[in-house]
């Protein structure tokens, strides 16, 4: 049974480049670009490492891989101010520690989560920001301005609206970035929220990671248009389409939306065309092979965001072809790569996080009945 198809081959064609001469990327220095690449490596390494840990039975819960979608997370976060808010969901684990990472991965002042915090969460330890009370991506931080999501898809967008509204009252100038899969945009609360954001010109940007599949349902059965950006038309707001495999294109489009939001002009939707590397979650890898056509898988894999960006760096003389060869996890699945495929500082960074998490205590049982209601400051 082959699924109906908007035509996966056509996806690429629909990624309109803005063609704008004054692209935000012009402001990025070669050093910035090196940092972008490092972050891509880090996001990828985090993912492959977790996949391995999960396979070895060391982790509980389901792992929703962000493999191949890292350019969306890295590119969208790179230009944010520390005071901006984000709301990552199931497929965005690296966003927790990449937020504000430009100010230094280990910078304690950084307005993002430390790798220790994130690993503690993955390892279900008391040192996680939520003390291991909800799982995986369901963490957040008020001070670090990361909205805590639930499992209910699109459920954080109204919260983002409230955060943005309050920020304006508080005299702030923050934008709020929410992440969603394309399938989740079918939820009613997506509509209610974007509608409200548009009416009130709230600085809420909805990043739609259109990886063509919502679990086992192709985009054709979830949306009348293959371009989720089209949904923006119903709210009189911009719907940008970015090449989700191209970190600079994501950066450009998101920064355009950010600039607009910060100027008080309201929300945008930024659809990032991408491709889900594996099954929906790690439990789905085998079944995915049955419902997803092999040709689509191959086409998708062919544009690894690390490869795409390295190619650009080489073309723009910011990296030699040799250097580009040095660390090459691109195109390889989690089971194929080794630590040697990644820069040592990336491996080291995560290693420390994992070590910390492994040593950390589990939450004491009696905490189970605490904090149903406020107990005053923790």
């Amino acid at each position: 049974m082959t699924p109906p198809s908007h035509g996966a081959a056509a996806v690429q064609k629909r990624i309109e480049k803005t063609g704008d001469q004054a692209l935000p990327r012009q402001a990025l220095t070669p050093a910035d670009n090196q940092e972008l690449l490092r972050q891509l490596y880090l996001a990828r390494y985090f993912d492959v490492r977790l996949i391995k840990e999960k396979k070895r039975g060391r982790l509980r819960g389901t792992l929703y891989s962000s493999h191949n979608q890292e350019a969306i997370i890295v590119g969208s976060l790179f230009g944010l101010e520390p005071t901006d808010w984000i709301s990552p969901i199931h497929r965005d684990m690296p966003a927790f520690f990449l937020k504000d990472a430009r100010r230094g991965w280990r910078n304690p002042e950084r307005n993002g989560m430390s790798i220790e915090e994130v690993c503690s969460q993955v390892w279900c330890k008391a040192t996680s920001p939520g003390r291991a009370r909800d799982n995986w991506s369901h963490i957040g931080s008020k001070t670090k301005r990361i909205i805590h999501s639930t499992s209910m898809l699109a459920g954080t967008i109204p919260v983002a609206c409230g955060v943005a509204y309050a920020d304006r009252l508080n005299g702030g100038n923050a934008v709020v970035l929410t992440y969603n899969g394309e399938g989740s945009t079918a939820q009613g609360v997506f509509h209610e929220s974007i509608n409200f954001a548009s009416v009130h010109k709230l600085p809420v940007i909805t990043i739609v990671e259109n990886n063509q599949w919502a679990y086992g349902t192709p985009v054709e059965l979830g949306s009348p248009s293959p371009d989720i950006a089209d949904r923006a038309k119903g709210y009189n707001i911009p719907g940008l389409i970015a090449d989700g495999q191209d970190v600079l294109d994501v950066y450009d489009k998101v920064m355009a939306a950010v600039a607009r939001a910060r100027a008080g002009l309201g929300p945008s939707i930024v659809e990032c065309k991408t491709f889900r590397a594996y099954g929906h979650g790690d439990h789905d890898d085998d079944r995915a092979a049955k419902y997803r056509p092999e040709e689509e898988v191959e086409r998708g894999r062919s544009r690894d965001p690390i490869a795409v960006f390295k190619r650009w760096l080489v073309e723009h003389n910011q990296m030699s072809a040799d250097e580009a060869q040095r660390f090459s996890p691109e195109g390889l699945s989690a089971s194929e790569v080794t630590d040697d495929d990644f820069p040592p500082e990336v491996v080291q960074y995560l290693k420390e996080g994992i070590e910390f998490a492994i040593q950390a205590p589990v939450p004491p049982a009696e905490e189970g009945s605490r904090w149903v209601f406020a107990e005053g400051p923790r």
């Binding site: 920001p129 939520g130 003390r131 009370r133 909800d134 369901h138 957040g140 931080s141 008020k142 909205i147 805590h148 639930t150 209910m152 459920g155 954080t156 967008i157 109204p158 919260v159 983002a160 609206c161 409230g162 955060v163 943005a164 509204y165 309050a166 920020d167 304006r168 009252l169 508080n170 009613g188 609360v189 209610e192 929220s193 509608n195 409200f196 009416v199 905490e367 605490r370 904090w371 149903v372 209601f373 406020a374 107990e375 005053g376 400051p377 923790r378």
Partner: protein
Amino acid sequence: MSIVLEHKTGTKRNFLTAIKEAIREEMALNPDMVCMGEDIGLLGGAFGVTEGLLAEFGRARVIDAPISEALIAGAATGMALNGKTVMMELQFIDFISCGFDQIVNTMATFSYRTAGEVNLPIVMRGPAGAYGGGALYHSQMNEAWFCNSPGLKVLCPSTPYDAKGLLRSALRDGNPVLIYEIKELYRKRDIEQELPDDYTVPIGKAVVRREGADLTLVSYGQNVYHCLEAAEVLAKEGSSVEVIDLRSLVPLDMDAIRASIAKTGRVVVVNEAPMTCGFAGEVVARISTDCFELLDAPPLRVTRLDTPVPWAKTLETYVLPNTEKVVAAARKVLEF
């Protein structure tokens, strides 16, 4: 303080005015407070509870929301997450079902899942209850859904004094609080009260509305008045009936219930919501577990039948509790 002085101290306030005052006073006291709901600004609310707020506090703090209950609840959560205290009005409590997920899964659980990092000062309130011919969708008492959803406090006052005092407490509580306002009481003349200038009513405390020795009637909302009327009828028959008004469902004041049953040994719980899994059943369950040795007769419930609220008066009367039904149940228990 000026806002308090403006009160016509000494004059009686009805239930609705008491609520109105509480919101206005808290808005004045707390610059971080925001009100949000459908038609609460320009119109001043379907029942006029928020009349004047827009003029006094401005558009930024008094938000006329689109007809989007999920957005309203979610945005209230986001505002509270970002430092605000939010009063969120449901135009009728019946429409809360349209924002249900945001309330039970996002808002209610926030403190728990963040291990207390985030506390949400949100008050959700709206007109509730039957008896007014509102039919299926303008009559609901659906409090049990929320009592079964950990992380929400649930209140239901029956007097102007409590309505104001509890609402002020709720707005300062730091947790999501859901208040069922009985709309049939909004303008009821004979329950008007003079209110003190500045007071709150603590959340989680029941109150004895009438003392008695033979039987305890436990209730809240407008059913309290059915209980008081029933107590009158029974008094004429020689029975001394105590009436407890719970006011707060979550948390529940079991001490007050227990103390009363220790005296009377007999209890009827009265509530207009559907019986199965309604709050009356919870009260009966706790009584039968905690007060087993004190009971001289089976604890009874008088509730709505397990039906929606129908429109025609004949039907509405048939399915809802009223004074006669309370009296009948009371007699049964007294004669046991």
